[in-house]
Amino acid sequence: MVAASIALLVLWPLLELVSVASEALDGPGNGSLVDPMANTALVGAGTAVLATILGVIAALITERSAVSGRQWLRLGILLPMLVPPFVSALSWLRAYGPGGLVDDFSGFELPGLFGPVGIVLVVAIGATPLAYLITVASLRTRAERDLELAARASGARPLTSLRTITIPLLAPALLGIAALTFVVGINAFGVPAFLGTPASFDTVTTRIYQDLTLSSRPESFGSAILLATGLVGVALVLVTLAEMALGRIDAVPRRAVPSGHSGTRSARARLLTILVWFAILLTTVFPMIALTLVALTRGVGLAPAPANWTLSNFSEALDGRFLGALGRSALLAVMAATTAVLLGVMVSALRNKLGRVAGVTALVSFALPGSTLAVAVLLAYGAGLRDTLLLILIAYVAKLWAVGHRSISGSADNLPPDLFHAARMSGAGVRTAVRTIVLPLLSPALLAGWVLVFLFAFHELTMSSLLYGPGTDTLAVAILNLQQLGDVQVSSALAVILTLPLILMAIPVLVLGRLPGRLMGTG
């Protein structure tokens, strides 16, 4: 049953893809594909460098210096996880782009926002929480604080101990982080679609999108498939390398991590804290405010002052056309989350070889570029399911069940079997033991997995933009289309609707449930 679902969800579409791609190789000229590939590599490399540096610096600040409000700072660093990348791109445009908020006030617009610089900046900021979480976990499992203290006790200054002890210990993890964030960069679609396409800067993913949706040339379908196959190959190699480099990063640290810091709260720590908050403000909070202000303003070019505020953009955003898209996004997200969690539970219950194989497949499907997966699902199921929500749901579950599986299996593996045995020994049957012991202990993980899958699915743009048909567009697709039509106000209002309520809802969950840790299996 589980094996069959895996095969149907992931393996069959990929096999279809490879077989069609090998035919496409013999087709007419693919010469125009070099540019998108070079651009993609550029975005990947830039993202890897920037996100790794930002993530490591943020982790060293929250874990290794005497900052105040550490928990809130952690939350702030993770905030970009709650903003879908294409909404980030949109919000940066509204804040720093031509005609954006800063432009209105000071005439300044960020140079290079359209093009590789802007793409790398926005994608890297979205990937920083990932780099941050892995670095935090690695600091706990590989570079325990004692080792640094021993260096200090041997006469090393703080920066010397960082350079000679901490960074060398983290080196393999850093390679793994760079590989993973590189994959995030090359898989990115929303950001290059918003910031690259207007500047004719094509990446593999935007090229696939254009070929599939805007072109009627039959040979372009072939080149899209070639690109998709190439992308999945690179992503798989890199994710495998990252897994090897990171090893058992999700292993529970043997000793409790001292949360405090031995040093006093120095002026330097205060400065660092302020700097990080400032960066969060500049990269995430302010753009979101700008986006919201544009959505609230009556017309383009008007100052975003209360006098010019209106809710008409929101009421237009919530009329029949877009309300349907909102409903479909929510429905797809609920169904994807529920299916992914159920699959995750079933796979975790199989503590055998099949379970391991399934776990690996789940990881692979998460690393799969959404563009590739969408093309593969289209090839495998498009004939029968074209223009149905089910087609999109299949792609979502194939892509996201890894999230459900990871968050559940981490907790399930840490659940000592004797806790179950002790319940049986106390007179509980299997069902009672599961109900009274196993489920209560796993419920935070189940909830976290569900919320994460819901969040990813609700924000998903890459696959739905390739798979939607008449009457099956999602909210994210509606925003993409509106932005391409140049409707600044309503697209902003839709983006706010897509993002802000979930941010407000997710913060309590993040605070209470250690959600991000579960994403990485470190919770």
Partner: protein
């Protein structure tokens, strides 16, 4: 009345590893048996098989006359009248100490209020009243263990299984738990099995000791049997300090040997009467008395308070001795000793 527990030729197989081989045990009402063996000797596997967690690969397990485990079928653990104290306590982290102990009572369909009341009485018995609202993570190892014991006692069972139960327990609580088990043995005819690698504990609490080595039963008998008449040198070392010395047999009678050790005649108890020329003698330290004809140099002298332990180098090998009071010899000094007793395993 049928025995509470019969294990007949029980084997447990984990993949290629045979954890338990052809294990036999009969447990009568009111009896306490200790399973003694080093780690990896199969003690926990026997426990888990009796509790119903491990499928047996051969033999059968009978509880109060009913077949509960055969290679083909197994009665589920909750349907067996067995309680188990887990080696790692296995307390449920989401429940308080009180709720952990009340859990078996709830499963026995007792009302909630009554369950909590009985649970708090049980926690009182293990001295945990004040900490009853704490979660396991807020308890020390020893405190967790007491909660684990109370939880096992909350189950009205015929057989109480203790998997290495007293590692962190202070003697007062140990006694309180032992009393509680003794009471249930007397009133309800319950029995207990302790798995332990601590020989002193096994000899002190058990009516009968079963010695396990690599999954096989090596010897079974009363504490005095296994201590004074060990089946071989390995079993002797497992149950306490012992010296092994080679001696020449002078005369063999059923159950008794006259042997020559360092040119001194010694009478040894023997398991067999088959005449042999030389024999390996097992000598416990308290069987050796200071003063006498066997001369040796003290190589180790350890003061223990009530007594002093000596290791003495003799012509036939190293002898261990224990004598009351402070040291009589210093390391390097030569003294005379008398062997009052010796045991020759077959």
């Amino acid at each position: 009345m049928s025995p509470l527990l019969e294990c007949q030729g029980v084997s447990v197989q984990y993949g290629p590893v045979q954890a338990v081989k052809d294990f036999d045990l009969t447990l009568e009402p009111g009896e306490t048996v200790a399973l003694l063996g080093p780690s990896g000797s199969g003690k926990s596997s026997v426990m888990y098989a009796v509790a119903g967690f491990t499928r047996i690969s051969a033999g059968r397990i009978i509880l109060s006359g009913e077949d509960v485990s055969t290679p083909k079928a197994s009665v589920p653990p909750e349907k067996r009248s067995v309680a188990l104290v887990f080696q790692n306590y296995a307390l449920w982290p989401h429940l308080s100490a009180l709720e952990n102990v009340a859990y078996p009572l709830r499963r026995a369909a007792k009302p909630k209020a009554q369950s909590l009341l009985e649970a708090s009485h049980l926690l009182e018995k293990v001295g945990m009243t004040e900490l009853s609202q704490r979660k396991p993570a807020e308890l020390s190892g020893g405190e967790q263990q007491r909660v684990g014991l109370a939880r096992a006692l909350a189950r009205a069972a015929d057989i109480y299984l203790f998997d290495e139960p007293t590692a962190h327990l202070d003697s007062q609580i140990r006694e309180s738990v032992a009393n509680e088990i003794a009471k249930r043995r007397a009133e309800l005819g319950a029995a207990a099995i302790y798995a332990t690698h601590d020989s002193e504990e096994a000899l002190a609490i058990a009516d009968r000791v079963v010695i396990l080595r690599s999954g096989s039963m090596v010897q079974t008998g009363t504490p005095a049997d296994v201590y004074e008449r060990p089946i071989d040198a390995w079993a002797a070392r497992l149950t306490g300090p012992v010296a092994t010395l080679n001696a020449t047999v002078l005369e063999a009678k059923p159950g008794k040997l006259k042997v020559l050790l360092d040119e001194v005649t010694v009478i040894a108890h023997s398991a067999s009467s088959t005449p042999t020329r030389s024999v390996e003698l097992l000598i416990r330290p308290e069987w050796v008395r200071p003063g006498g004809e066997i001369r040796g140099t003290a190589v180790e002298v350890s003061y223990r308070g009530p007594h002093t332990d000596y290791v003495i180098s003799t012509k036939s090998g190293h002898l261990v001795a224990r004598a009351a009071g402070s040291p009589r010899l210093e390391v390097g000094q030569v003294g005379g000793w008398t062997i009052e007793r010796a045991w020759a395993p077959s």
